[in-house]
C-alpha cells in the first residue's frame, strides 16, 4: 500500500515570522486589508509505502521529528491519504 503524506511545517507560535509580516504588508498594500495573521511555512508532499495507514503515519512522524521539521523553531501537521 502507498500513502500520500502531506506535511505542513509552520514557525512556532510566538516566534517572529518576518516573511509572514512582509507578505501581510504587501497584501494590504495591494488592497487586501482584510487579510491578517499571515504565517509562512513549508509544505512537503511525499509518498510512503507501508503495510497500513497507521504504519505510514508512524513513519511519517519519525521523518518529521528527525528531519522534516526543526523541533526548536517549527511545529508540524500531518495529513495522510490513501493512494
Amino acid at each position: 500500500m502507498t500513502y500520500r503524506v502531506n506535511v505542513k511545517v509552520m514557525p512556532r507560535a510566538g516566534l517572529l515570522d518576518p516573511q509572514g509580516q512582509a507578505v501581510e504588508h504587501a497584501l494590504s498594500a495591494l488592497g487586501f486589508e482584510e487579510a491578517a495573521g499571515v504565517r509562512i511555512g513549508r509544505a512537503i508532499e511525499l509518498e510512503i509505502a507501508a503495510p497500513s495507514r497507521a504504519d505510514a503515519e508512524a513513519r511519517a512522524r519519525q521523518m518529521c521529528d528527525k528531519l522534516l521539521a526543526n523541533p526548536v523553531t517549527e511545529d508540524y501537521l500531518l495529513r495522510i491519504e490513501e493512494h
Binding site: 512556532r12 510566538g14 516566534l15 517572529l16 518576518p18 512582509a22 526543526n70 526548536v72
Partner: protein, 774 residues
C-alpha cells in the same frame, strides 16, 4: 503607533528608589535568586545597594547586567592589561565598537562578537542574529559596514550533527550578511573534537565613517527623549545574556530562551535609517538593544552619560499581548535600537524612520537623579541607582593553575611511527577540513557587493578599497587553538602574529585588534590559567606590533558534556594599505618568477597539523614566536609591496611551509594553476625533512617576484634583517621540491581536486541532516 504619541508618564519623586511588585509577579525567594544566576555575594550587594528587597523586575535587570556577558566580572582585571592607546586610536574599548583614524578624514570602526550558545541550539538563527548584532554595533557608531568576517569552530565533520551545525551556521551567516549587503571578506573555520556540542561562532564587522560623524552611545541632556526604533518586542531570547553565561547542559535545554529570529530586511532599513539620523545630526545617542535588550542599552547609555533614565515599558510596542515589564525589559528581540533625541527633534526623527518604514516610539526620557527607573502604566516597577547598577557587580579574581595534563602533553612526542610517507602526507593535510580550501564556505557569502573588494576570500587577508581614495583596508581573523591549548602564552602571541602576517602579506600595515576570547568555565583554575596566559601573549604581541586592542568580547562557559572547548582567543585585525592598487595576492601567477622564502625554519613540529592529522598526536611544545622578527618581517612586506616588488605573498601557518607552497601554486578555484620547481638545499641546515616541510615555525612567508627585482629585494631584506632564501622559479603544472636528499613532485591538478573538494565532498547532503546522529 498611537502609543508613541502619548505622553511619557510623569516622573516619580526625583531620587526616590521606591519600587513596587508588578501585579501577579512572583515574590523574590532565594530559589528565584538562584534561577537568576546570582550568587549570595551578588545578592547581598544588591540588597546593600538598594537598601531593600528587589522586585522581580529589578532582579531580572541585575541578573542581566551582572551576567558574565554584560559585566565581565571574571575577565575585567585581565583585559585591563591590553594596550589600548595609540596616536591613531579615536575610540578605545568601552563603546559599541573601537575606532581608528585613517587618512583623508576617514576612520574605521570594527568589533568582533561571539554567538556560540545560540548557535549550538539553533545554528541558522544563532549565526544570523550574531551577524545582525555585530552589524548594529558598528553602524551605531555612525559607520557604514563595509566588511564582515567570521571565525568558526566545530566538532569533526564525520559526525552528522557537526555537519548540520556547520551547514546551518554558514547558511545563517551568509543569508544575513548577503541580504543586508555587506561583503564577507574573510574568516576561518577549524574542526576539533573539543568543539563537539559547543561550536564557536564569532562574527566581526568593519565599518567606515568620516571621523567627524563619530557618535558615542552616551545619553545626555536631562529631558531628552528615549525612542525605541525598529522591530516590535516579543518574548524572544529572554535571559539570553545569562544563558550565554552558563554551561550548556540538559538543564539549559529547558531554560533555553525562546529562539531569536533574525530579519535582515528590517536590519537593512535600520542601517539606512540610523546612518541618516546620525549624519544629519538628529540624535544625541544611539545603541543597539542587544544582549539584555532594553535593559542594558538604556542602563549603559545612562551610565556613560552620568544621568538617570525613566522608561515606561507600557509604551514599548510589543509583538504579543500582555507582556510584563520584566519580559519587555529583558527581551532580546532582534533589529531594535534605542535612540536619544532632544524633544524638538523627535518629530523629525520619526519622519526619517517612517521613510524607512520603521516605527520610532518614545518610551522614556533622560532624568537628572541618576536613577534607572522603570514604570509600567504609572506603577514604578524598578528604581535602581544607575551608575552602581552598571559598575558595582562584584569582580572576581579566580585561581589560575595549569593542568598537569597540558604540561605533560607539551613534553610528549608522537608514539606511533608515521603511517604514510612524506609526499602522501601533503595530500592528507590538504584533505583535512581545517586546512582544505574553505570555498564551500565563502562561495555562500557575497564578497563582491559594495563593489569595493580588492582581494576576495581564499588567500590571506581580505582587502577592500575605500572609494574616492587611493588607500584600502586589509581585514582578517585568526587563531590556532591547538597552539593555545598546548601553550596559552605562546599561542596568544601566535594568534596576533598570524593575523598581522596575513595583513602584511597583502602589503597592508597592521593597525589594530579586536579580540573574541572563547574559553571554558573561568571558575576552573586550568581554564582561567589558559585565559590569563593567552591574554598576556596577546598583550605582549600587540605592544610590539603597535596594534592596540580597541574592543572585543569574552565568551566563557564554552563547555559541553564533553568538557571545555579548546581555548580560542580569536584575533580580528585591520590594516591600512596605502595604495589599494598595489595589493599583493597570495598565488603564483606568472611563470619564471623567483620564489623566495622569508623567515627562518627550525623545524618545530610541536602542535603542528602534521602531528595531529598524520600522526594522530596533539602535543609537543609549540614554536616560540619571536615578536621582533615578526615585526621586521611585517615592515619588509609593507615596504616591498609599496614599491611594487612582489607578485605574491602567502604566509606559512597550519601545515607549515609545504602547505603554504602548495596553496600558492594551486591558486584559486577559478583560475589556472602555476607550478614551481624549488630546491631547499642549504635553507635550513640540520633540520629534519619532516620538520622542514611540515614544521610550523612562526614568521615565515613565501613570496614570488619578477627576477628583475631580486637584488632590490635582497637589499631590502638585508636592511630589515629578514632571512631570505631563493628557493627557485615558478612554472609548469607540478610542484617540484628538493629537500636534502629527497626529491618530491606533485601534480597540481590532483592536489587541487583534493584541496578544493575536501569539504564539498563531506558536506554534500549536510543541509538535510539535522537530527541525524542526535
Amino acid at each position: 503607533m498611537e502609543s508613541g504619541d502619548r505622553e511619557v508618564t510623569g516622573s516619580a519623586v526625583a531620587g526616590s528608589t521606591e519600587a513596587f511588585a508588578f501585579p501577579g509577579e512572583r515574590p523574590v525567594s532565594s530559589e528565584v535568586v538562584r534561577e537568576h544566576n546570582l550568587n549570595e555575594l551578588e545578592y547581598e550587594r544588591i540588597l546593600e545597594l538598594l537598601g531593600r528587597q528587589p522586585t522581580l523586575t529589578e532582579l531580572g535587570v541585575f541578573s542581566a547586567l551582572w551576567s558574565e556577558h554584560c559585566s565581565y566580572k571574571h575577565s575585567k582585571p585581565v583585559l585591563k592589561t591590553f594596550p589600548t592607546t595609540g596616536p591613531h586610536v579615536v575610540q578605545g574599548p568601552g563603546e559599541n565598537a573601537g575606532v581608528l583614524r585613517l587618512p583623508d578624514g576617514w576612520a574605521v570602526a570594527f568589533k568582533i562578537e561571539s554567538h556560540n550558545h545560540p548557535s549550538a541550539v539553533e545554528p541558522y538563527q544563532g549565526a544570523a542574529t550574531g551577524v545582525g548584532g555585530i552589524l548594529r554595533d558598528v553602524f551605531t557608531m555612525g559607520a557604514r559596514p563595509v566588511a564582515v568576517l567570521n571565525s568558526l569552530r566545530f566538532g569533526p565533520l564525520d559526525q552528522p550533527r557537526n555537519r548540520y551545525l556547520f551547514a546551518g551556521v554558514v547558511r545563517g551567516v551568509g543569508d544575513y550578511g548577503n541580504c543586508v549587503g555587506v561583503p564577507t571578506l574573510g574568516g576561518e573555520v577549524d574542526f576539533a573534537p573539543g568543539y563537539t556540542g559547543n561550536p564557536l561562532v564569532n562574527a566581526m564587522c568593519v565599518g567606515l565613517l568620516r571621523e567627524d560623524h563619530l557618535i558615542r552611545a552616551a545619553a545626555e541632556g536631562v529631558g531628552n527623549v528615549l525612542l525605541a526604533v525598529g522591530a516590535r518586542t516579543g518574548r524572544d531570547g529572554i535571559h539570553g545574556a545569562s544563558f550565554a553565561s552558563e554551561e550548556l547542559s540538559e538543564k539549559s535545554e529547558s531554560r533555553r530562551p525562546q529562539v531569536q529570529v533574525g530579519d535582515p530586511f528590517t536590519e537593512k532599513l535600520l542601517l539606512e535609517a540610523s546612518l541618516e539620523l546620525i549624519t544629519s545630526d538628529l540624535i544625541v545617542a544611539i545603541q543597539d538593544m542587544g544582549a539584555a535588550g532594553l535593559t542594558s542599552s538604556s542602563a549603559e547609555m545612562a551610565a556613560r552619560g552620568g544621568v538617570g533614565v525613566e522608561i515606561d515599558t507600557g509604551l514599548v510596542p510589543t509583538r504579543e499581548e500582555g507582556m510584563t515589564p520584566y519580559e519587555i525589559l529583558l527581551s532580546e528581540s532582534q533589529e531594535r535600537m534605542l535612540v536619544v533625541a532632544t524633544p524638538e527633534r523627535v518629530a523629525e526623527v520619526r519622519r526619517v524612520c517612517e521613510k524607512w518604514e520603521l516605527a520610532a516610539t518614545p518610551v522614556g526620557r533622560v532624568t537628572d537623579d541618576g536613577i534607572f527607573r522603570v514604570k509600567h502604566q504609572g506603577l514604578t516597577v524598578a528604581a535602581i541607582p544607575g551608575q552602581r547598577l552598571v559598575d558595582d557587580c562584584p569582580i572576581y579574581h579566580p585561581e589560575a593553575r595549569e593542568s598537569e595534563e597540558t604540561r605533560y602533553r607539551r613534553t610528549a612526542l608522537p608514539s606511533l611511527p608515521p603511517s604514510v610517507n612524506l609526499d602522501r602526507a601533503l595530500e592528507l593535510l590538504l584533505d583535512s577540513p581545517g586546512i582544505a580550501s574553505k570555498r564551500w564556505v565563502y562561495e555562500q557569502y557575497d564578497s563582491s557587493v559594495q563593489a569595493s573588494t580588492v582581494i576576495h576570500p581564499g588567500g590571506d587577508a581580505g582587502v577592500l578599497r575605500v572609494p574616492g581614495t587611493a588607500f584600502g583596508l586589509a581585514v582578517t581573523v585568526d587563531c590556532n587553538a591547538r597552539l593555545v591549548a598546548l601553550d596559552p602564552y605562546e599561542g596568544g602571541k601566535a594568534a596576533v602574529a598570524e593575523a598581522a602576517r596575513n595583513v602584511a602579506c597583502t602589503g597592508a600595515r597592521p593597525l589594530g585588534v579586536t579580540d573574541c576570547l572563547n574559553f571554558g568555565n573561568p571558575e576552573k583554575p586550568e581554564v582561567f590559567f589558559q585565559f590569563r596566559e593567552a591574554c598576556r601573549g596577546i598583550a605582549d604581541a600587540c605592544r610590539v606590533f603597535g596594534t592596540p586592542v580597541t574592543g572585543g568580547n569574552v565568551s566563557f562557559y564554552n563547555e559541553s558534556p564533553t568538557g571545555a572547548v579548546d581555548p580560542t582567543p580569536t584575533i580580528g585585525m585591520v590594516g591600512l594599505l596605502a595604495r589599494a592598487d598595489r595589493r599583493v595576492t597570495s598565488f603564483f601567477d606568472r611563470a619564471g618568477d623567483e620564489v623566495l622564502i622569508l623567515g627562518a625554519t627550525r623545524g618545530a613540529l610541536g602542535g603542528s597539523a602534521y602531528w595531529a592529522e598524520v600522526r594522530g598526536f596533539v602535543g609537543g611544545a609549540p614554536p616560540p614566536v619571536d615578536l621582533e622578527a615578526e615585526r621586521r618581517l611585517q615592515d619588509f612586506l609593507v615596504e616591498a609591496a609599496a614599491q611594487g616588488l612582489l607578485r605574491s605573498a602567502h604566509d606559512a601557518s597550519e601545515g607549515g611551509l609545504l602547505v603554504a607552497l602548495a596553496e600558492a601554486a594551486m591558486g584559486r578555484p577559478y583560475a589556472a594553476t602555476m607550478g614551481a620547481s624549488l630546491d631547499l638545499e642549504g635553507y635550513a641546515p640540520g633540520v629534519e625533512v619532516d620538520g622542514l616541510l611540515y614544521g610550523e615555525d612562526a614568521g615565515r612567508v613565501v613570496v614570488s617576484a619578477d627576477p628583475a627585482h631580486r637584488d632590490t629585494l635582497l637589499e631590502l631584506a638585508g636592511r630589515h634583517q629578514v632571512p631570505l632564501f631563493r628557493a627557485g622559479r615558478t612554472g609548469g603544472s607540478r610542484l617540484e621540491l628538493r629537500a636534502g636528499s629527497r626529491v618530491f613532485s606533485w601534480v597540481l591538478e590532483s592536489l587541487r581536486k583534493t584541496y578544493f573538494e575536501a569539504i564539498p565532498r563531506r558536506m554534500q547532503y549536510a543541509d538535510a541532516e539535522r537530527s541525524a546522529g542526535e
